[in-house]
Symmetry: C2
Subunit: 182 residues, 2 copies
């Protein structure tokens, strides 16, 4: 049974414009589409919530609460869920900070600005430490992903602004080495 996936073939279904994985037995078409990551920069009295990852990739590095959106939820519900799962944080989404595209890995990140409803945060799943950082104390050399640094600067540049146009960034770097991640 280990060849279960051998019955799939990559071909263009009738009327389609792209190659898909099609089951040779039953005709089932497996559509593979980009995945959405939802997350938020969460603030409490000017301080920003970061989580130290306990899992790969980038275990031991700091990130904002974010993760893959799940079926049946909205983008803001997903960002709220991630804040709870990773930092036991109750938040209120404020506005969309930015859209970060990573076509290399078919990922789209929708990153929001949020207010913590309380400073009581705690280690959650996939996290080994949580902390509220003053801007000047953010561990820039220990951030997990380029999008984290990017969105933190977006956040800072519209601090105090109620309304703003969300930022957009296409990360078209071909690969991530340690320098580029920071």
């Amino acid at each position: 049974m280990s060849d279960t996936f051998g019955s799939f073939e990559r071909k263009v279904p009738p009327g389609d414009t792209h190659e898909r994985l099609v089951c040779n037995d039953c005709g089932f078409i497996l559509y593979e589409n980009p995945k959405l990551v939802v997350g938020s920069v969460c603030e409490w009295s000017g301080r920003i919530l970061l989580c130290k990852r306990s899992i790969e990739p980038r275990a031991g590095y700091w990130t904002i609460p974010a993760g893959f959106m799940e079926k049946g939820e909205t983008t803001t519900q997903g960002a709220e869920r991630e804040a709870w799962e990773e930092a036991r944080a109750k938040i209120e989404i404020d506005s969309l900070l930015g859209i970060y595209n990573i076509p290399r890995i078919s990922q789209v990140q929708l990153l929001y600005r949020a207010r913590l409803l309380s400073p009581d945060v705690a280690v959650g799943e996939e996290t080994r430490e949580v902390r509220l950082f003053e801007w000047d104390d953010i561990p820039w050399d220990e951030l997990a992903f380029p999008s984290v640094s990017w969105v933190l600067h977006c956040f800072d540049s519209v601090r105090g602004q109620e309304m703003f146009v969300p930022f957009e960034k296409d990360d078209t770097a071909r690969r991530l080495d340690d320098d580029r991640r920071r």
Copy 2:
């Protein structure tokens, strides 16, 4: 071989928080996530491009060029591709008009404002007619989806504005009957 998919079981993998489809033989985890639709309201001298659908769902009804984002592209590249595929339209994306969430079907739509680079449009795949409509001529009773009507009104409300905050809508209607679609 029609029981090929019978070897998958819905369960929570170790360290996960959600049920997934897991292969009992090889442990492969099939993550099912929401899908992204990308599209655009395309303008030429105040007129708006609409496409009459030739395929289900909603064949014979009008829509903006939009469709499922493909792997390896950015959100704006996807919207440009859809404009070409459905209306042979060359466009320039201007800014994000809105985010339309439909959690019932696990779909997120990112809808942009765009300029047509030329009024030369033509029937493409999945389309039986294309037309540039003056605002007052838009066939409101023959639009394919609620999000089309919604985003057209978003477009109109920021006409002439260079910068604006994108609109957000969560479509939490439980089902779509003909009245709600319009």
